[in-house]
Symmetry: C2
Subunit: 211 residues, 2 copies
DNA sequence: TATATATTGATAAAAAAATCACGTAAAATC
DNA sequence: GATTTTACGTGATTTTTTTATCAATATATA
């Protein structure tokens, strides 16, 4: 039970359920059933049950789940119940968007500083977050004990930035560039490829056209 | 052969291979082997072969694939060889980042206009793309025959925006909000959940801590 | 209080995806 | 020219993920 591996897709789906359940709370609901969630997302109820079961949640027949409990269970399972600080490197288009976005608060990850090499960017404050020169990264990371790094710099710089992160004690990296930097095995790397989504879209369009 | 369904994961992986192969071309290489790609991404060579086989690509033993042919094959398979126009709704943080990003050109999708309801945003030009008032959407979409819509507006507006897109002849939607708007079955919807990636990261951190 | 109903969690079956294993072909080496 | 090596393609196998089935149980209703 403790060493069962969690399907990645389960982890991917849970935040969606979370958001939906939050909406239900906001509209005054107190309970939610697996079928309700499944129906909303057009997926199979059993899958929702399995996913929720991974978080340790236990429901009541005929009633479903108490929303507050369900939300807490998912939050806890995803590690959203503990706060952690993150540094972001690259305060360009995408970096600024992420810094300016408040929606990640719920995950307990808060961006506390941004870094860039461009003198025009350094010193600016975006959404309350200051942009520091890149050379201060290691010092500040070690001093503040930051463990999460976000890479939104130019693709060419990704490899070097990842290296800097590793030597600065960063253990988890969220990388938005299409480059796959080499990092030691004990460093967690999550690659977000916006390309991939677009690929699925254009492939589906192509498939339809073929019909 | 024509009606074999393509695994979604294959479609997700191909753009990564593509980018890597493009890098190889840039550094002067002429050939690539499945093992090379597999090695770079830390996955199984057979998987790379199977993925590439879906695109119709045939390699030579001992040599691998001619890079130019491989790139073309993937491009063609993903529908990146045909140009299509897209409208984006919501010229906020994320919308601006996407409009300002040149990296999607390779996919053949080009954003030709942005839309917003905020008077402060309307009229602005971002990266050569003008922001129009939302009420012009339907008219312009029909007139220009645009088939792809990108949603980067406030989550609350996503449902309404999706509706507008559907009645304006949009058949494929790329949605960045955490909301799942209802659309008819014949409309393709690709949901990009930045949350999900973050969830995987924080869950992995949690898993490691537990050890 | 008894009965019907909705929804659960566990287990089994099916489907899908990833990996393995093997035979073959092209190039390199002897 | 024969032999070795490397990488290919593909059917078989294993693993993972999803879907189906079903007994158990809490609530509602008669
Ligand atoms: N904007 C998007 O929609 C989008 C989509 C997909 C992927 N990406 C990827 O995200 C990355 C950033 O994209 P963007 O559009 O924000 O680009 P951008 O050019 O607007 O921003 C890049 C920033 O990184 C900084 N930078 C460059 N080298 C650096 C270094 N060595 N150290 C620290 N900072 C450095 C630059 O000064 C700049 O501010 C790119 O790799 C891109 O491929 C962006
Ligand atoms: N910025 C991020 O990093 C990020 C990450 C994940 C998800 N998202 C999602 O992307 C969406 C946009 O995020 P953002 O940070 O860019 O927000 P934002 O507030 O900066 O931008 C939203 C834009 O949408 C416009 N808008 C609002 N209602 C509209 C309507 N009915 N029609 C047309 N335009 C409308 C607003 O005027 C604004 O310009 C949100 O739903 C958010 O949840 C953003």
């Amino acid at each position: 039970m403790t060493d069962t591996t969690i399907p990645t897709n389960t982890i991917r789906r849970l935040p969606r359920y979370y958001h939906y359940m939050q909406d239900l709370v906001d509209q005054g609901d107190k309970y939610v059933t697996s079928d309700q969630i499944a129906n909303y997302f057009g997926i199979h109820p059993t899958q929702v049950r399995k996913d929720l079961a991974f978080t340790g949640l236990i429901g009541k027949p005929k009633v479903g789940h108490v929303l507050q409990e369900a939300l807490e269970s998912v939050r806890n399972f995803l590690g959203w119940d503990t706060n952690s600080k993150a540094f972001i490197v690259g305060a360009g288009n995408l970096g600024s968007a992420i810094i300016g976005y408040g929606g990640f608060d719920v995950t307990g990850v808060s961006i506390v500083a941004a870094f860039d090499t461009d003198p025009d960017k350094i010193g600016h404050v975006i959404n309350g977050i200051e942009v520091f020169p890149m050379r201060k990264f290691t010092d500040m990371a070690l001093k503040m004990g930051v463990k999460i790094g976000i890479i939104t710099c130019a693709a060419e710089a990704a490899e070097a930035v990842a290296n800097t992160m590793v030597v600065s004690g960063i253990t988890a990296i969220w990388n938005f560039t299409p480059v796959k930097p080499y990092v030691p095995e004990n460093v967690i790397m999550e690659q977000t490829e916006l390309y991939s989504s677009l690929a699925i879209l254009s492939r589906r369009i192509k498939e339809l056209e073929g019909k």
